[in-house]
């Protein structure tokens, strides 16, 4: 039978081979011709992981680390590996949570990352919890501790200045063209932000293969395509950390700012914005909560008063004005006026703080005793000397601009305020064209009116006088390892005007007189000739601000400083002593025994609560009969103090608690005193 059908063997084999042939062709198409599958496979299985470099460290001028890196630990969980039989209650006890929170956290982990991938169960564990947990972690399979670098601030101060790092939000991500990804940390304020590209270093890329559950299965092609991460560059600041800490101490329980500059370089020696906060509380697990507390604090600790706040300069403005007058030749150094406490030049009575005859007999004396009448007159002479007040004001404004006022100086931390120097258009808008004269704006002559300066600008003004006519843009960073390009703008000398040195000498002498026998006589430093100028700035927020600018020593100055203490009254009372202590600390390294140390203690232990803060805690409607209002006020004060105590007692142990006790009492006293 088979013989008849032998030929069918060929047909059957033909069918076999043709179908195998079709399969082979299909394989050829899939594997050799079509390239997309290779890309698809790479897309599915190979993943780019970004390796984060260690962030650069910030050092002060002596090599002390101001901002460095520390490691905290995240507790991770892989839900699949967690045993049902684990001792949940013990685990919760270790973590300090309850079992319902445990369930919520587990659920969240599963929803966010699935059963197979590890996700964060509890971020940034406090060290004590970490210690407890590490010992017994073996009992809880599925849980692991992963190191996470955080910023650490060994000196517990200056959060506004060194800056904070924060998680990239969607707008930052979009702005960075998706360079930053969700979960990345970057500098968001202060130096951390300005020098972000240097501090962050260069990210590395690590290719890994992942399985269908997105678990990492190893490196791709033995790391052939990987690039290593390069650590961030370290910054060396001009800041003198002992001086900075000294300033912090002096400013405790006060609101205000200190800026100390090295006039020869423009480097910042110290910058204090009070009240300050411990930036470390924004590194740990309670970061969000603490941040909110700081944000809601009426004293605005997150606000860097040294560069952002704008104050009327008051009498500290007078030396610069004198320079303009001398240069414009509207006065001579020997120019004097008659003043016994009043100025009648403008048809109304303007007051001067000094009443004895002779305090305005010449320029030096007028500066020393801060005669208002004298400078009203000088200012009027400056703006009127061309015969046209608009032209005069414009010229005056140009001088001010050259002195670094009315515009941002360009310091290397973000958020600097420009201050304000009024211009003619401003007055034309308010008073109408030709409806104003030098008398209308005469308060500018004593640094009031529309004039606003940041403490930084005040300190820079002191630098200009100290240097007799030039300044360098104030800056923090003195050196970056291997990179000087970024610092080039800070090495450029700004020569303000061609005012001759001889004219500066009169002003410098006047400022020296301020401390020797004038308004600031209480702040003399034994053995050091300090040149300064007090200022008492009227402001709409309550009691006068106490201001002082200074530089020392008189010849070859090494430090220029501006101090603002909000709502503290006369410049000579608080700002001048604080500035003198700072100068003495910087130049002599110690405070002389005796009256100087007593002064130091008095300054440190004084609590000055500005009216602005009291306004916040007091109801606006302050009627006598309103018992209700009184109760509300007490309640608010109580609550405010509780939150304060909470933060400070937990996080600021380097300060004694008694400070806050004092503060509390002051509140009570002020509260009673203010009752009509």
């Amino acid at each position: 039978m088979s013989i008849y059908n032998q030929s069918r063997k060929t047909i059957i084999l033909l069918i076999f081979f043709s179908i195998f042939g079709v399969i082979a062709l299909r394989l050829f198409y899939l594997q050799v011709i079509e390239k997309k599958y290779r890309a698809l496979a790479a897309q599915q299985a190979v993943q780019r992981l970004i390796v984060y470099p260690t962030r650069g460290i910030i050092y002060d001028r002596n090599g002390n680390a101001i901002v460095n890196n520390d490691a905290l630990y995240d507790l991770m969980v892989t839900p699949r590996e967690v045993k049902k039989a684990m001792d949940t209650s013990y685990f919760c006890q270790l973590l300090g949570i309850d079992t319902s929170q445990f369930r919520i956290k587990m659920h969240r982990a599963v929803v966010r990352n699935g059963w197979m991938r590890p996700s964060v169960f509890a971020p940034l564990l406090p060290l004590d919890v970490y210690g407890r947990l590490q010992e017994s972690l073996y009992q809880f399979p599925g849980f692991s501790l992963v190191e996470r670098p955080v910023r650490h601030y060994p000196f517990h101060c200056g959060g506004d200045i060194w800056g904070l790092i924060g998680e990239a939000d969607s707008s930052i991500i979009r702005k960075s063209n998706y360079f930053y990804q969700a979960g990345d940390f970057l500098g968001i304020t202060g130096l951390e932000r300005t020098y972000e590209p240097l501090l962050m270093g260069q990210r590395g890329i690590h290719y890994v293969v992942r399985d269908v559950h997105n678990r990492i299965m190893g490196s791709y092609e033995d790391g052939k395509f990987d690039t290593a991460a390069i650590a961030g560059k370290n910054l060396k600041l001009s800041v003198d950390m002992p001086l900075q800490l000294f300033g912090e101490k002096l400013m405790q329980n006060k609101i205000g700012a200190i800026v100390a500059l090295d006039p020869k370089t423009g480097g910042v020696l110290a910058m204090i914005s009070a009240p300050d906060f411990d930036p470390n509380i924004l590194s740990g697990a309670d970061r969000g909560k603490n941040y909110l507390t700081l944000l809601r604090d009426p004293a605005k600790p997150l606000y860097n008063r040294a560069t952002q706040a704008m104050y009327p300069p008051g009498s500290t403005f007078k030396p610069l004005e004198a320079l303009v007058a001398l240069d414009e030749r509207v006065i001579t150094p020997s120019f004097g006026i008659y003043c016994v406490g009043y100025y009648y030049g403008c048809g109304r009575v303007l007051h001067c703080t000094e009443h004895w005859l002779g305090h305005s007999k010449d320029l030096e004396t007028a500066i020393a005793y801060s005669c208002n009448s004298y400078f009203f007159d000088v200012f009027r002479k400056i703006v009127d000397h061309t015969g046209n007040v608009e032209q005069g004001l414009a010229e005056w404004r140009k001088y001010m601009h050259n002195f670094g006022l009315g515009h941002r100086l360009g310091i290397d931390i973000p958020g600097e305020s420009p201050g304000n120097i009024p211009d003619t258009t401003h007055y034309n808008k308010i008073f109408g064209d030709d409806h104003w004269s030098s008398c209308t704006i005469v308060s500018c002559g004593i640094g009031q009116g529309e004039i606003l300066e940041t403490p930084l600008q005040m300190a820079n003004g002191a630098c200009i006088i100290a240097n007799r006519g030039y300044y360098y843009t104030p800056h923090f960073v003195a050196g970056i390892d291997g990179n000087t390009e970024l610092l080039a703008p800070f090495h450029q000398k700004h020569v303000v005007t061609d005012i001759p040195d001889s004219l500066y000498q009169y002003v410098v002498n006047g400022m020296a007189q301020v401390v020797q026998r004038g308004t600031g006589a209480a702040s003399q430093i034994p053995g050091i000739i300090m040149c300064g100028k007090t200022g008492t700035a009227q402001n709409p927020h309550g009691k006068d601000h106490s201001l002082f600018i200074a530089f020392a020593p008189k010849d070859h100055p090494k430090i220029a400083i501006a101090v603002v203490v909000e709502n503290a009254g006369y410049g000579a009372t608080y700002a001048a002593p604080i500035a003198s202590l700072m100068v003495e600390k910087y130049l002599n390294d110690t405070i002389a025994a005796g009256p100087r140390t007593a002064l130091l203690n008095r300054m440190m232990n004084t609590t000055i609560l500005p009216d602005s803060l009291m306004k916040y805690v007091k109801p606006a409607d302050n009627r006598l009969d309103s018992i209700w209002n009184r109760k509300v006020a007490q309640l608010k004060i109580k609550r405010h103090l509780e939150t304060k105590d909470m933060i400070f007692s937990r996080n600021r142990d380097h300060r004694s608690k008694s400070d806050y006790f004092i503060r509390k009492k002051t509140y009570a006293v002020t509260e009673n005193d203010d009752r009509p």
């Binding site: 059957i12 299985a45 299965m217």
Partner: protein, 429 residues
């Protein structure tokens, strides 16, 4: 009887066939090892972890070797003598499964005895083939008669029906390959043509819109009538045949195929066919094939290298050690490796056909052809489905896919043939 047998059971064995068999089992083992291999684990780890597929398959390879020796020790006359009995037992076993079987992955075709999972349909292949060979080789059977052809077809269709009832479509379809054997033994070629035409009709019914298809048929019929008009004038019956075929085709595509798709096939089967035809692209339905194509396609010309594939090792391809084992070979060894594997199978089939044609006994010849056809069907459909040419029906790649039933089933099929071939000089039947 025993006197004319060689004392050594190895005498007359077809060694090339056995080498090819061993080679494929070896390829299967290394592929399964590759699927499960993780960077940090070595061979020792794989061997000592019995829950892993690799160790299991190794164990089954040992069992298969023992089974092969036992079969070679059994006299070849045993198979001819017990063929019908085995068939009846096989059918009974299938019926038993229908009652007490266990559902695994949607098919009701597994028996679980003492922890072992076992798929009787794999073994009834052997029984059916033996019975078919026995019936066709019987001197009293005249295969030119319609009655014999119907009986032979029934022998094949009976297990198909039962296995279909077990919801194991893939294995049921394998039995269709026996019709190639019937063709070899004298079934008219026209039946193959008709079978092929039906497949084309079904495919076109699925791919082309119904009315368009009907118009195409009508135009074709008109053209045929036009060109054959002289013949039609001479013989009126030709016109009738043409019209009948036209009416049948029309009815088939208009009613039969839609009916079958909506009422007979399961939705998942419809979607698998649609995926193969490229009509359905929803992620759920074509995920397997898409992943399989990515794995194979990413292998390129020479492959990523052994144990370097990412798609198959990291669970992207489902069922990778069983039905989709070919992906591992495609990804790790590329086009070159895939073609070599196809060539090994081709060589194996050629060898079997050569063995078949050298048999003096019809029984042995028919049996060998049956083995070749089953092997071919498995390979073509399995690789076809991994590259998107065939619908996804779960049939394993012979000797390579993970699974004891499959390996043992093929081993039995092979070594019965080897035994029969070794005795080809002695047995004249």
């Amino acid at each position: 009887m025993m006197t004319d047998r060689s004392p050594k059971f190895t005498k007359g064995l077809d060694w090339p066939l056995i080498y090819l068999y061993a080679l494929l089992v070896f390829i299967g083992l290394i592929s399964i090892y590759a699927v499960e291999h993780r960077g940090s684990e070595d061979l020792l780890y794989a061997l000592t972890h019995l829950s892993h597929h690799f160790a299991q398959q190794l164990k089954w390879a040992g069992v298969a070797a023992i089974a092969a020796v036992i079969i070679l020790l059994i006299d070849s006359k045993f198979y001819t003598a017990t063929a019908n009995l085995l068939y009846v037992l096989g059918i009974l076993l299938l019926l038993v499964v229908l009652v007490v079987g266990k559902d695994i992955k949607g098919s009701h075709s597994w028996l679980v005895i003492g922890g072992f999972q076992f798929q009787p349909a794999e073994f009834t292949k052997l029984c059916t083939l033996l019975a078919l060979s026995k019936y066709l080789s019987n001197i009293e059977t005249d295969f030119t008669k319609l009655r014999s052809r119907i009986i032979a077809s029934c022998l094949i269709l009976l297990p198909i029906v039962i296995i279909l009832l077990q919801n194991e479509t893939g294995l049921a379809l394998v039995y269709l390959s026996f019709f190639l054997v019937l063709y070899r033994e004298g079934l008219p070629g026209i039946l193959l043509v008709i079978g092929f035409s039906v497949i084309v009709l079904v495919l076109s019914a699925l791919l082309v819109e119904k009315t368009t298809l009907f118009i195409i048929f009508s135009v074709l019929a008109a053209l045929v009538i036009f060109f054959m008009r002289k013949m039609i004038i001479r013989k009126r019956r030709i016109l009738m045949y043409i019209l009948l075929i036209w009416a049948f085709c029309g009815a088939f595509v208009m009613f039969a195929v839609p009916f079958a798709f909506h009422h007979i096939l399961h939705p998942y089967q419809v979607s698998r066919i649609n995926v193969m035809l490229g009509k359905e692209v929803s992620r759920g339905a074509d995920y397997n094939v898409q992943q399989s194509k990515i794995a194979i396609g990413s292998g390129g010309l020479l492959g990523k290298g052994y144990l370097k594939g990412t798609q198959t090792r990291f669970d992207f391809v489902p069922e990778q050690s069983t039905d989709f084992i070919f992906c591992t070979i495609g990804e790790d060894f590329g086009f070159a490796g895939s073609v070599v594997l196809l060539l090994i199978y081709t060589l194996l089939i050629l060898r079997i056909v050569k063995i078949a044609e050298r048999q003096r006994s019809s029984f042995s010849r028919i049996y060998a052809y049956g083995v070749a056809c089953i092997l071919f069907f498995h390979v073509a459909i399995n690789i076809g489905m991994t590259v998107g040419l065939a619908p996804v029906i779960g049939i394993p790649l012979p000797l390579i896919s993970y699974g004891g039933s499959s390996l043992l089933g093929f081993t039995l099929l092979f070594f019965v043939m080897v035994r029969l071939d070794a005795d080809r000089q002695m047995v004249l039947r």
